[in-house]
Symmetry: none
Subunit: 245 residues, 2 copies
């Protein structure tokens, strides 16, 4: 019951109100989470209202890490879960909070993060495309979105409920590891560069949509280090033949 | 399991802040609860701050019933569950939120209520003595009490989860389908052919092992028709550049 190192990061993308950031920190503290990452907070940083609202969780606000972009915040993250209320029509598993925490628990030896969008608009499709899976808290009506800190509360509560049990990782990885988000970002950049060179995106209006489809495909797969090396080798091999001619 | 009219009342005993009452109403609405009862609100009633904070759940605030004492609020209630953070050393079952909702569900044809105390002090022992059972949301430390609306959120969420009995995951496919094994075989053959052409398998002894790694990678992913088209386009594009030179 005591020694589980299950501890996911909470990432707030572009949060608007300091009060909400503080309330998130407080409820994280209630449920033994401490790794708070904030991307481009609207009102800058530090934020007095966040500190006030955090009450006894001021240390979480003070240690929160601030990033310009989601990619930077993900450098050490192996599994990313994106929360959203609206259906996004991406081919990606959609979990309830409980099922998502089950998944996090199955991969307890890997670093997971749960991503929350800004209060008004939620996450962008580009942000969601980076996630392994989507979490949707089931609610009575999609028009009545959950308050940000309430959504964090429910995820943190489910996290705590399961963290009290011991983990059992069931994915045999042998000598390899799940690829870091950084390695996956490099892979995707490499691929897109070569695709640009080869004229893959020949209809400019479709470029973004096609890019997102590709990113979505690889985010859904749990790529290992070995997979990333293999895929980069494939890209290099196909592109290398081109440059030799 | 689907058509249960499970709907419990939420009772707030002597709440202090209108904002918290409003936030409770909002999260009740999120999770399809509507019967809000309030005992002796500190700042009187109606309360503008409660209305403001309720957002799209103003109807729950407007229909809330106000009482002088807990006994009056309970006239039609058959099962009462009292929430508390501190242990009270009463001989009474202490449930987690999930277990409590299981109990409520077992008695779905009886009217249940969940009782929450004031922000600062929690319920009095006399109030708790009226309950059938105690609910304690497990938290990391009992000194960091949950915010009132957060506690209501967690109970309402558990209530909704069981009232809905909803599946825990799904994969939205939109207009696409999972690719057939035949299409995946064609994709892999296409890829391997191009890799042979480009000299990817330059160490013959490693060829089979590398081929298996690649096949394994794509077998693990649930590729859709669209994914297969995208991947074939990628291969064609990279290889096409080669043949053009």
């Amino acid at each position: 019951m005591s020694s589980t190192p299950l501890s996911s990061a909470i990432i707030l993308a572009r949060p608007q109100l300091g009060e909400n950031i503080g309330a998130c920190a407080r409820v994280m503290c209630n449920f033994n989470l401490s790794d708070l990452r904030i991307i481009a907070p609207r009102d800058g940083w530090p934020n007095e209202k966040a500190l006030d609202m955090a009450k006894s969780a001021k240390h979480i606000i003070e240690k929160a890490t601030i990033y310009e972009t989601l990619e930077e915040a993900l450098s050490d993250i192996e599994f990313l879960y994106a929360t959203t209320v609206r259906p996004r029509y991406m081919v990606k598993p959609v979990y309830t909070p409980r099922k998502a925490i089950d998944e996090i628990y199955k991969h307890a030896h890997h670093k997971s993060a749960i991503l929350f969008g800004p209060e008004r608009s939620g996450l962008s499709n580009d942000e969601i495309a980076l996630a392994n899976a989507i979490i949707t808290v089931p609610v009575g009506s999609e028009y009545d979105s959950l308050n940000l800190a309430q959504a964090v509360a429910i995820m943190a509560y489910e996290h705590f409920m399961i963290a009290q049990n011991a983990p059992h990782d069931h994915m045999p990885l042998g000598n390899t590891h799940f690829a870091s988000r950084k390695d996956i970002a490099h892979l995707l950049n490499h691929l897109e560069e070569e695709l640009d060179n080869s004229g893959f995106f020949f209809v400019p209006q479709k470029r973004e949509h096609m890019r997102r489809n590709i990113r979505n495909l690889f985010a859904r797969t749990h790529l290992t280090d070995q997979d990333v090396r293999t895929l980069r080798g494939i890209i290099r091999s196909l592109a290398h033949r081109a440059t030799n001619h």
